[in-house]
Structure formats: C-alpha cells, structure tokens
C-alpha cells in the first residue's frame, strides 16, 4: 500500500507557521508523505497543489481569522474541480462555535489547541482510507 499523502499549508497572510510545521513533522513521523506548501496560499494554490500531488487529505493550519473566509472558498473550489479530498482544519485560534460552523460547511474535521496527537493521526488515516474507497 502506498503511503498516505497529506497536503499541509497556511492560507492568506497568516505567517504563524509553528503549528503547520509541527503537524507536518508529526505526520511524517507516522510514515505519511507530507506535501508542505508553507504560507501565502490561496484556495486556488491549494487546490492546484492537491491535484498535482494527488493528495489524500488537505490540512490547513490557522492562526488568523482569515480561514473563516478562505475555507468555504476552498471547499467550493474543490467541488468545482470534482476533487473529493477531505479538508482538515487545525489551529488554536479556532473556537468551538466556529469549528461547528466549519463542519456544517463541509470540513471533515477540526482540531483546536491541545488536541491529542493520536486523535489527529487516526482522523487523517481514517479520512485517507475513506477517500481511497469512495
């Protein structure tokens, strides 16, 4: 079985990279292939990279409220491109209320501050397995 491919990136002008780098390392340690796209992404660049890299899961890390606007745009763009790749959001700035809103819009999972590492890893694994069978 080929390893799970996860795209990890930060959107807009958010330049707090610590969470994204930490998660990328953690997933790599689990044997996953991480395509790290760094900062200054737009929904367009994320979708393009996800297509080119054949990503199983897209992970967006946030330390700015920009994600509230970009995430729905990203989901819409994925749909327009017939790309069935689950989107996972992470970041301590995401409140419980906003997490609920994002899940309603179609985000597959949200992880706030203090989330257990094992939960995050299991979720990515399950989502990747789901995406592969769908």
């Amino acid at each position: 079985m080929s390893p799970i491919r996860v795209l990890v990136g930060v959107l807009g002008m958010d330049q707090h990279e610590l969470g994204a780098v930490g998660i990328a390392r953690m997933l790599r340690d689990q044997g996953m292939e991480v395509i790290y796209t760094g900062c200054f992404n737009t929904p367009e660049t994320i979708v393009q990279a996800a297509m080119q890299e054949d990503a199983d899961v897209i992970g967006i890390s946030s330390h700015s409220w920009e994600y509230l606007y970009y995430t729905p745009e990203l989901l819409e763009l994925l749909k327009q491109n017939d790309l069935d790749v689950p989107v996972v959001l992470g970041g301590s700035v995401i409140t419980e209320e906003d997490a609920g809103k994002m899940l309603d819009k179609g985000v597959a999972a949200v992880f706030g501050s203090g989330s257990a590492m094992t939960d995050m890893i299991d979720t990515v694994r399950n989502l990747a397995a789901g995406a592969a069978t769908s």
Binding site: L18, V21, C39, Y69, S113
Partner: protein, 534 residues
C-alpha cells in the same frame, strides 16, 4: 525540560555556594551604569521601566482612540503593531490582504494614515515604539514632526530592523536579503543623523524566538544579526560611535524565570564587550545597550485564558528584577487576538501593581553577586558566544540567509517545541496538565474569543484613493526612487519625496524590488505604476 535543567538545557545544582559564580568584580560585573553593564546600563534611578501594551487595530482612527485610552490608564509609551499586510509591506487593497485588513494590528499604508494614527499624541513627550516596517515608519514620523513644528531631533522610540529572519518568521518582505539589509542600514544612518534620540536599530529577538527557540538560541541569533549590520555600517565608513548608542534590543521572556534574568544580564555584558573590544567603540553609550521586553505569547494558552494573567505577571517580575528599560505584557487573550480593551486594562494594571506596590525598583540588580545567578549568567553567556561563533564559522551569515540555513533552523525549533508541548516536556497548566472540560472553561472566554472584523471599507477607500492623487509628481517621485536605488545614495530622501507625493507603502516597496531586478509584486497580482524598466 530535563529535570533540574533550564529550558536551554543548562544543568542546575540544587544548591549553590561560594565556589560558584566567583570572579573579578570589576571585570565581570561592574556597578550598575558601569562597563560591562552586566548589572544594568544606568546607575540607580528608582524609576522602573516604560510601561506599554501592544496596540493597533482596525483603521488609524480606531487605533488612535485605543492609544488615548491606554494613555488615560497611565501608559508611558506607545507600542504599535501593524496588521499582517502592513507588516509585510502590502497595501490593504492587495488581493491577498483582503480578509485580514485591520484584524491583527492597524492598517497603515500612506502618510495620511500616520497623521490620523498619531493625532493629538504629543510627539515630543511620548516614546513611540513601532513594529511596523522601519523605513516607512521613520519617514512618516519624521515628516509628521516637521508638520507639527516639533524637531525630529527630540523624537524618542524605536523601529525594528530584521533583515535576517523576517522572511522566515512572521512577516515576509519578499525581498532579496541585500535589499532588505540596505533598507535597514539606510534607516539607521538616517536616524543617527536626523533623529539622534530615536533607536533606528532595534534588534527584535522576540518575533523569531516565538518559533520555539530557547534563551541561548534567541540571544545568539540576535547577536549574529547585530554583528552583521554593524559590520555593514562600518563598511560604509561610519564611525561606530555615531550609530552604536542607538542600537537597542527587544527580547522575549519565557516562563523559565531564572534563565530569563540571566539571559538579559548576559546579553548586556556580551554587547558591551563586543562593542568595546571588537568594534572599538569608545563612547560608553555605545557599549550600554537598552533592553526592552515583550513577554512570551508562545507561553500562553487558549485554554483557561485567566492563567495567562499569572504568566504575564511572573514574567514581569523577572524583567523588573533584570532591570529592563521597557516592557509590554502579552495579554490573556493573546492566543486568539491582539489585545482587547479588557486585556489592555489587565496588562497595564499588572505592570503598575508590580511597579508601585512591591518595592521592586528600590534596588538595582538585586540578584547581583548571587552565587547561583552569577554562575548561570556566566554559563548562558558562554553558550550564547559559542553559538554565535559556531554560526559565523559556517561562513558569511548573509549567505546562510540565502541558502536557507536559518529557515531550516526555525523549522527544526518549531517542530521541537510542538513535540515538547505534546509530550508534556514543556508543561502548560490548563493545556497539557490540569486540563478541564470545555464546558467548565468559561472564565474570560467570551472576551478572548471576540473577533475583529476585516475592514472591507478600507480596502475600497485605498483602492479609490489611488486615482485621486496628482499622478505626475507621484510617478516622478517613484521614478526618482527607482534611480536612487541603483546608486549608493541613502534612499530615505527619495522615500520622503514619494511619501509626500502620496505614494503608498506597497508602491514604494514594489519600486525597490523592481529597481533591484525582482518582481514589483512578489505574489504576481499587481503591475508597477511606472511600467517595466528592464
């Protein structure tokens, strides 16, 4: 953290005694106000530190109201931060800026913004410390002082120079290193001539140390940058004593209480010796470095935000004992946002309680002569110097920036910190120890989670502003700046001219990039107002 070791990994004995931290008093310590300034840059004043809180949100007018509110609370200096686009030399109507205009700092891009920002603020009395891009902040402060009949020579405050690390931590200029360094040197040279009381060169180790660095790494990288900029200024033929008194440092303060105090004492000593012995500074003011501090945002948690008040207070006590010049507390809502009105009040009151009620300022350097503190200061100093030597031995530090050495380094420290917190090696009460269920974790949560909406109106306003300007003088000034960049002339005069002609910060930064042979807009959305010049 290892058991009984500092965050940088220095092993601690349970008890210290007369055999620790011994040494020649005048060589290693000196009295406060005397070389090598380990014990403080000034003789006892009893005055304490400049008290301020990070401010700036929304448009310039709203930020001005915020400043005035803080001044009514007794704030004694201003500390201004721009929103992400402003900090990254980007105008609010840039397509990438849209959703973050005014949300994590104030949106500033033209001279008129600074007029509104500092309306009614006494420029000759208030120290203004700005985290915004230095060249543009200095240009507008200088012009504003002249407009108000205040001599730029009396302006106090600081701007940050960060050519080494800004691309990799927090705020990228998307400029070649050499251009960024040139901007920094031009600003420092301009300030040392025209604004002699202003710190045109604040070495900010805070922002990059938030990438998970420990105290030794933070100070070492700071000194690598200081040393490189000093050498670049000396290479211009400047006298060390003409600019060194205007160098200041802004550091972080983690929760490792003793080590942070030792770090500040060690940094003062390293700076003094470096300036005197290596760079030949004769003026004592060139050897005595003012250190201001921003308490650690990274040490704070979004869980149980009230705990952050305690963290800020403990760090403030450490800094009071270390004898810093100025400080601002990262407030309880830091995990979510720039400070709310309530958080400003708590942050400032924390500083005031410690300053006024505890007698903390009654003695200078109270840890001086402590077997433990002197021994720790020595060890921290030795490790900082080792790391500086190690980095410089790898080659020209400027080459290390371009080759991605520091980027790699920061990715390593970010990953390390992330793991340390997840593994519980760094303990954070409320986050990885003594957690509580979300439904119980309500204290101060409503305030912390309150959002600042992006200013879509300001995007429209700036977009419309562009066509309203008198185009001929504007384009002439931008063209002249383009030409000046290709000479050795200091760029500030040309930047002042552009600023007065109504140019925006994004335009000026774009012209600098273009003149350097790189794209006007690094993100590929905008075209240069003066057209292609290749």
């Amino acid at each position: 953290m290892k058991e009984n070791a500092t965050r940088s990994g220095i092993n601690l004995s349970p008890v210290y005694g007369p055999s620790d931290g011994n040494g020649d008093y005048s060589r290693r310590f000196g009295n406060p106000g005397e070389y090598p300034f380990t014990r403080g840059t000034r003789a006892y004043s009893g005055r304490g530190w400049i008290q301020r809180e990070l401010s700036g949100e929304g448009d310039p007018k709203r930020s001005n109201e915020q400043f005035k509110y803080l001044m009514t609370l007794g704030q004694t200096g201003l500390d201004v931060i721009g929103d992400s686009p402003t900090m990254s030399l980007m105008d609010p109507d840039h397509p990438l800026a849209r959703y973050t205009v005014g949300t994590q700092g104030v949106s500033l891009c033209r001279h008129d913004d600074y007029r509104q920002l500092l309306d009614g603020i006494p420029l000759d009395q208030m120290s203004i410390s700005s985290s915004g891009p230095s060249m543009f902040t200095v240009a507008s402060l200088y012009l504003l002082a002249k407009e108000r009949g205040v001599s730029p020579g009396v302006l106090r405050g600081s701007v940050i120079e960060w050519p080494f690390y800004s691309e990799h931590c927090s705020y990228a200029y998307k400029m070649p290193f050499d251009l960024h360094l040139r901007m920094s040197c031009d600003v420092i040279e301009f300030c040392s001539k025209e604004m002699p009381r202003f710190h045109g060169f604040l070495e900010d180790t805070y922002f990059f140390s938030e990438a998970g660095l420990n105290a030794v790494e933070e100070a070492a990288l700071g000194f690598v940058e200081i040393r490189h900029i000093v050498r670049a200024l000396l290479a211009r033929g400047l006298d060390i004593d003409s600019f060194a008194p205007r160098i200041a440092i802004l550091t972080n303060c983690s929760m490792d209480f003793y080590e942070e105090i030792a770090k500040i004492r060690a940094m003062r000593r390293i700076f003094a010796r470096m300036m005197k012995e290596e760079f030949g500074a004769k003026d004592p003011r060139s050897q005595a470095v003012n250190i201001a501090v921003h308490t650690s945002g990274l040490s704070l948690t979004t869980e149980q935000p009230a705990n952050n008040i305690v963290r800020g207070a403990v760090q403030t006590v450490a800094l009071g004992l270390a004898g810093v010049t100025a400080l601002e507390i990262s407030t309880f809502d830091e995990g979510y946002r720039t400070p709310s009105k309530e958080a400003h009040l708590v942050g400032l009151r924390t500083q005031q309680v410690i300053d006024l009620e505890t007698n903390i300022n009654s003695v200078q350097d109270p840890f001086g002569g402590s077997w433990f503190m002197e021994s720790l200061t020595d060890e921290v100093e030795a490790r900082i110097l080792d790391m500086v030597n190690e980095i410089e031995s790898l080659g020209d530090p400027a080459e290390l920036v371009s080759s991605g050495y520091f980027k790699q380094f920061f990715h390593g420290t970010m990953g390390r910190y992330h793991r340390q917190v997840h593994d519980g090696e760094v303990l954070k009460v409320g986050m990885n120890v003594h957690q509580m269920p979300a439904e119980q974790d309500t204290l101060l949560r409503d305030i912390s989670e309150e959002k600042i909406e992006p200013l879509f109106d300001r995007v429209e306003e700036i977009s419309a502003y562009r066509d309203k300007r008198d185009q001929r003088p504007l384009l002439d000034s931008l063209q002249r700046l383009h030409d000046v960049v290709q000479t050795d002339e200091n760029m500030l005069e040309a930047v002042l001219e552009c600023t007065l002609a109504g140019a925006t910060m994004g335009e000026i930064a774009g012209i600098l990039r273009q003149a350097w042979g790189t794209p006007y807009d690094p993100y590929g959305f905008l075209e240069s107002p003066i057209g292609s010049t290749q």
